[in-house]
Symmetry: C2
Subunit: 244 residues, 2 copies
Amino acid sequence: MADFPSALQRFPVTVDIVALTVRDDVLNVLLITRLIEPFRGRLALPGGFVLAGEGLGEAAIRELAEETGVEQVPGHLEQLQSYGPQGRDPRGDVLTVAHLLLAPDFPVLSAGSDAEQAAWCPVGDVLAGERHLAFDHARILVDAVERARSKLEYSPLGAAFCGEEFTIAQLRAVYEAVWGTRLDPRNFHRKATGNPGFLEDTGRMTTGDAGRPAALFRLAAEARSAAGEPVRAVLNPPLMRPHS
Amino acid sequence: MADFPSALQRFPVTVDIVALTVRDDVLNVLLITRLIEPFRGRLALPGGFVLAGEGLGEAAIRELAEETGVEQVPGHLEQLQSYGPQGRDPRGDVLTVAHLLLAPDFPVLSAGSDAEQAAWCPVGDVLAGERHLAFDHARILVDAVERARSKLEYSPLGAAFCGEEFTIAQLRAVYEAVWGTRLDPRNFHRKATGNPGFLEDTGRMTTGDAGRPAALFRLAAEARSAAGEPVRAVLNPPLMRPHS
DNA sequence: TCAAAAGTGTTTAGCGTACACCCATGG
DNA sequence: CCATGGGTGTACGCTAAACACTTTTGA
């Protein structure tokens, strides 16, 4: 069996995770405060080096667990894009494979220890440049948000932001937060429920809220992503975002 | 300034290029025949190791030039996805960043020498499994074709398969080849020409062909990709592919 | 004059949008 | 009873699809 070329260049490889959720009707991203150089004290995307014997997805899940304390992947994880290896890290060339996580508002580890502290931050504030992100993470975040926006149009992944069971209004709030628009509740209801293979009625209802109780839905079985595999199901017709 | 962790794992990184074009009304992919182990004699995507001091896009362009003889990027190049590093290469863990090139039917280097020989192959034949590709290149090809198909719907990149100037019928042939469908010439003509910011009439006409001469168009300035940057312009309304 | 391909006009059916309206609960 | 939000019905305008028809060339 052949071997690698002798003068072969090798690169450190990291995974970064852009974890998005909807909190208080606003899109939020999970950021950590860096405790070590470079960029010590700055906000950054959670992530870290890929270890020997690891796949990219595995590394992303491990890093997420280490920095937030989640045991399982709390939503939908997919690869976003790779960046580098040039000019990203003052220590040298590093290739990073960015990942996108769409998840409900899960609690993050708030260890009072010296562990890196993760926290949800409104995407709008971060992109407005109030807090500069480490490395090229601002650019990665921009790409991630744009990907998330278009994903909602033609895939059932909006439901990844909700819990196991949700109302149509909660799902609509997700779309409104991610797209930054207002949607007609009545037309949205029809489009969402009328889309074959998207939602499943659980038969249960909300109770205790103001107004008429809402039916609880779950993501249809055929629209759920199977263990890290990409969601093949497509929204047909798509839920188009209102174009400017 | 901080340094990398001492026990840091480093990986060889390759770029692979899925170069697609339309030849004889069929989608084709550029493949090389491997002259060295592993997978010697098998068909593979063009590509190779990323060198020190190189960005991913640069490496893709260099490898394409080395293996096909093209001097400039002959079409639209964009990053597809990364694969690995586990279980892809019998020599060890290798991360690959796959790229997608949509280009007109450019001539490939047919050196009679011992250089790797590149050739256009119909995608349908390759995916039918008549010729097994090296590494995980069959899977990469599947992902690339699916990406190309959806790109045509909402981006002006169909024109990347045509030359500088083209007729509406040539552009329609691209869509038909990539989607594997037939489109109504008259409705397609209206959709394509009626899309603001997509096509520009050159004022010139074809001549010499059978039938009425056709107007020659070029891609509108605002729809051209600026030096490796992603095409931001979006087809509005999209050219939807007929769904089953 | 005919064949072939380009391009335009017209009809129809379906969908997105807007919005009136009714339903079911909590206070 | 009223406010609040859930859910349905309906009218209108736009667009995709189908296809008849005209235009302009080569043979």
